[in-house]
Amino acid sequence: MLVNIIFGLSFSFMNSSNTILTRTKSFFAEIGDMTLFAGRFFREVFSPPFEFKELLRQCYNMGNRSLLLVGVTGFILGLVFTLQSRPTLMQFGAQSWMASMVSLSIVREIGPVVIALICAGRIGSGIGAELGSMRVTEQIDAMEVSGTNPFKYLVVTRIVATTLMLPLLIIMGDAIALLGSALIENLKGDVSFLLYFNQVFDALKFSDIIPATVKSVFFGFAIGLVGCYKGYYCSKGTVGVGEASNSAVVYISMLLFVIDFIAVFVTDIFF
């Protein structure tokens, strides 16, 4: 009996360790493929012909159509953050530090990460699904047969668009979050908007804004790259399109935290 249990346990342990090994292998293989995909992007982005019209269309699609979502998210973020922090700061009699604390937290960390995660869901999954459905309905093949480089037309334009648009969306989202915070301070603490924003600009330095902006450029690049990679190499019909969209969001979310960690680490060394 005991022997059977030990045998069973060791068998299931071997099985699960095999599965973990296989998944780890395929995960690293995918990271390798994604790196090659990024390499191809850098080769193609600087070589003509340049698809400026499609790039502008993508910038409009990704930027303009995300404004409302990013705006609402930023505003609520500012409101909630200020409401939650007020009681704790009041306990120490440090309400006057509210503007500095909120602005530093939002500009340096919370704003870029939250807005990038929102965009991963909105833009990254959209790119994955769009390119995936183009792949399974042979639209990408049709593009190639008609003499247009689909990588340049579809992938390069989307990655450049997300890289350009995400920092702008994050700056806008940060500003709206600070507006939400100022509103709460104005309603609950009798702090005027002018005073609040004076304190914000006193607290913020270029060494806070520049690393956050550079980080958001990398966030945008990651969203475009992973979304395009997942969609461009989508297979298995409509099921594959769903998988491409879903796994794009999962990979982007993980990658955003990795980039964030690296950015904080590097910022800590230089600033």
């Binding site: 093949d141 593009m143 047969v145 247009t148």
Partner: protein, 249 residues
């Protein structure tokens, strides 16, 4: 003069293609002559679509040669291949219309890389309208693909394949997914286009009716090789059970 006439516009020699352990093409050969309608028939999954995708450079074959208008497309570079592709029209199995673009934009898309062709043919607008009139859909110019029926989508895809006035047209399952009446309309349209522009057509299908109406010559693709070759009458009267299986109702 006679030897020039007998020279194929497209020739496939000993084509091999495998996907892992699955050997799809095992030495397939094909010759397409000027003005000819050649039908390649085979069961689903027999490698017909793989073969035709090798022909336009979408899939790289493992070995063999593909010569189109005296150029081996496996050996030439991307630029040369793109130029050669202007001589080839391709109708995809599922139409493959760009669903984010209108019918007009779909038809203009192949022209954007081949501006020299536009100069030769007096501008984009005329070319787009002419191509749509050829398929009887001039009124659909500003519609989106989603607003079109399956048959109309196939017609627009055909118009897009024709817009650069190609010398060779390849049809990948042109009647799949269509009702018999619409399928017949598409087949007649293909025949009319072939007569009007004297194009050479390679038609990949498993539709016997399509083969009967349109083919000058047929090749049966079985187990990755050309199993049988001849006219529709010759093959349909064959005593070979493998050949007969294609023509039985």
């Amino acid at each position: 003069m006679n030897s020039e006439k007998n020279k194929p516009v497209l020739e496939l020699k000993n084509l091999h293609k495998s996907f892992g352990d699955n050997h799809v093409l095992k030495g397939f050969n094909l010759k397409l002559f000027k003005g000819e309608n050649l039908v390649v028939m085979g069961k689903s999954g027999s490698g017909k679509s793989v073969m035709v995708k090798c022909l336009v450079g979408l899939i790289q074959p493992d070995s063999g040669s593909i010569t189109i208008k005296d150029e081996d497309i496996i050996k030439i570079g991307h630029k040369e291949l793109d130029i050669l592709r202007t001589e080839i029209g391709f109708l995809f199995q599922g139409s493959a219309l760009y669903d984010s673009m209108t019918v007009r934009e779909n038809l203009e898309f192949p022209l954007r890389r081949h501006k020299d062709k536009i100069e030769n043919f007096q501008g984009t607008e005329i070319l787009v309208k002419e191509a749509l009139e050829n398929v009887g859909l001039a009124d659909a110019i500003d519609l989106m693909p989603a607003e079109l029926s399956g048959g109309m989508q196939r017609r627009v895809a055909l118009a897009r394949a024709l817009i650069l006035k190609p010398k060779i047209i390849m049809y990948d399952e042109p009647t799949t997914g269509l009702d018999p009446i619409t399928a017949k309309e598409i087949i007649l349209l293909m025949r009319n286009i072939q007569k009007k522009y004297n194009t050479s057509s390679l038609i990949i299908t498993h539709d016997v009716d399509c083969a009967r109406v349109i083919s000058n010559r047929m090749i049966l693709l079985v187990d990755g090789i050309n199993y049988a070759e001849g006219t529709f009458e010759e093959l349909s009267n064959s005593k070979d059970p493998q050949v007969q299986a294609f023509f039985k109702n």
